[in-house]
């Protein structure tokens, strides 16, 4: 039997030997992406993840925005923004903000490092399958890029009646957003399992 490819979006079966796998292979019926190129290297992904980790720490330590009015200054960090909701009596919203802007990105970065560092030495991390599967469930809930735009909107609204200074963390957050996008595109499930298969050879 030839190798088969089943479209996850419309269930159409393709003959793997009849399809030439190019950089992006799409389903013949519904045009869903069946295959992406698996050209990324483990080392590149690790480098980006480390970079993202540093940026993540910086964007949580330094203030995101500073707000000057009547001689007083207020500032907030990424975590502080989530706690703001908590203090305002909306704990669930606080959890939502914290989970999507702090916990999910952190889990993504640490989880990938945990899996990729052993893979580099042709070893397997413990509970590899479970950890990767969890990461894939968390991935769609990483909202750093949306947060960046939200921060922009807040800055514009505040600048109408006070002096607002974007902090270092805002820049770091922007760079983190790019790192996470690069990391996500390089660690698709197909790519990851391709690395795992290769490390067994």
């Amino acid at each position: 039997m030839p190798p088969l490819i089943v479209c996850p979006a419309c269930d159409l079966v393709h003959r793997g030997d009849a399809v030439s796998l190019t950089e992006r292979t799409c389903c013949a019926r519904c045009r869903a992406v069946l295959h992406r190129s698996r050209g990324a290297e483990v080392d590149t992904a690790i480098a980006i993840a480390l970079c993202a980790l540093v940026l993540f720490l910086l964007s949580n330590v330094y203030p995101l925005v500073e707000f000057h009015i009547n001689g007083t200054t207020r500032q907030t960090t990424l975590t502080g923004a989530a706690l703001g909701f908590y203090d305002a009596g909306h704990a669930l919203l606080g959890v939502l903000v914290l989970a999507t802007t702090v916990l999910a990105p952190l889990a993504q970065i640490l989880g990938l490092l945990y899996l990729l560092l052993p893979l580099r030495r042709k070893r397997r991390a413990r509970r590899q399958r479970t950890v990767f599967r969890l990461l894939m469930h968390i991935r769609p809930w990483t909202f750093v890029e949306v947060f960046m735009l939200g921060a922009l909107v807040a800055l514009v609204r505040l600048s109408a009646f006070a002096k607002v200074v974007p902090g270092i963390a805002l820049v770091c957050c922007g760079l983190l957003m790019m790192c996470l996008a690069a990391l996500t595109s390089r660690t698709s499930p197909e790519q990851f399992w391709h690395w795992v298969a290769r490390s067994r050879e």
Binding site: A81, L96, V153
Partner: protein, 205 residues
């Protein structure tokens, strides 16, 4: 009538996590041999779960837009902002690109998501062979744009945290914001529980 060969006809399951095709009809709880994800011929109870989540989201969409999301108390006056009035404030302060951005992200996108999901769901309850590609594209669009509605929630979170200077102004969060957050989460969850293959399944199955 159909000459289309689907995974279901061949008894092939496909892992939605890693796209790996699996022949595992005899197993009671089949799992992907590669990533150990649970496998199903179709996502279990997809139609029912998605419908419930969507109805909840549609109901909450009303208070999300009518209730104030923010109360601003300054020395001069008290203001209650709904999402729409927030857009108008931005528009009057002269930053129309930002106003447009918030309008699209907070009002157009959630409404579009609810309507589009309703169309896709309706057609999955009553399968038809027409416009399948368009419906599939619509569904993929929903998945892609869904997250952007969180924008206003983040903006409010920063405003609330920063503006707590007792002598000058305070901002409090209204229940509209909670309803709005729930709409975003519910529509995202609804999109994820829907099984796109239901659009393409033939009636006879």
């Amino acid at each position: 009538m159909s000459t289309v060969i689907t995974g279901r006809r061949l008894g092939l399951l496909v892992c939605l996590q890693c796209n790996c095709p699996v022949r595992a009809l005899k197993a009671v709880h089949p799992r992907c041999p590669r990533c150990y994800a649970h496998l199903h011929m179709r996502k279990p109870h997809s139609l029912a779960v998605t419908t419930v989540l969507l109805i909840l989201a549609a109901i909450l969409y009303v208070p999300a837009n009518l209730l104030p999301v923010m109360y601003t108390r300054t020395l001069l006056d008290d203001e209650r902002d709904t999402i729409m009035s927030g857009v108008l404030v931005l528009l009057h302060s002269g930053s129309w690109p930002i106003a447009l951005l918030v309008f699209v992200a907070s009002i157009v996108v959630p409404l579009l998501k609810i309507l589009a999901l309703a169309i896709v769901l309706y057609s999955a309850w009553r399968p038809s062979a027409q416009h399948r590609q368009q419906r599939s594209d619509l569904y993929r669009l929903i998945e892609f744009i869904g997250r952007w509605s969180m924008l206003d929630i983040y903006a409010i979170s920063l405003l609330v945290t920063l503006v707590q200077i007792q002598s000058f102004a305070t901002i409090a969060v209204g229940w509209g914001a909670a309803a709005f957050g729930a709409v975003v989460v519910l529509t995202m969850a609804a999109a994820r529980t829907f099984d796109e293959r239901l659009i393409w399944d033939e009636k006879s199955g």
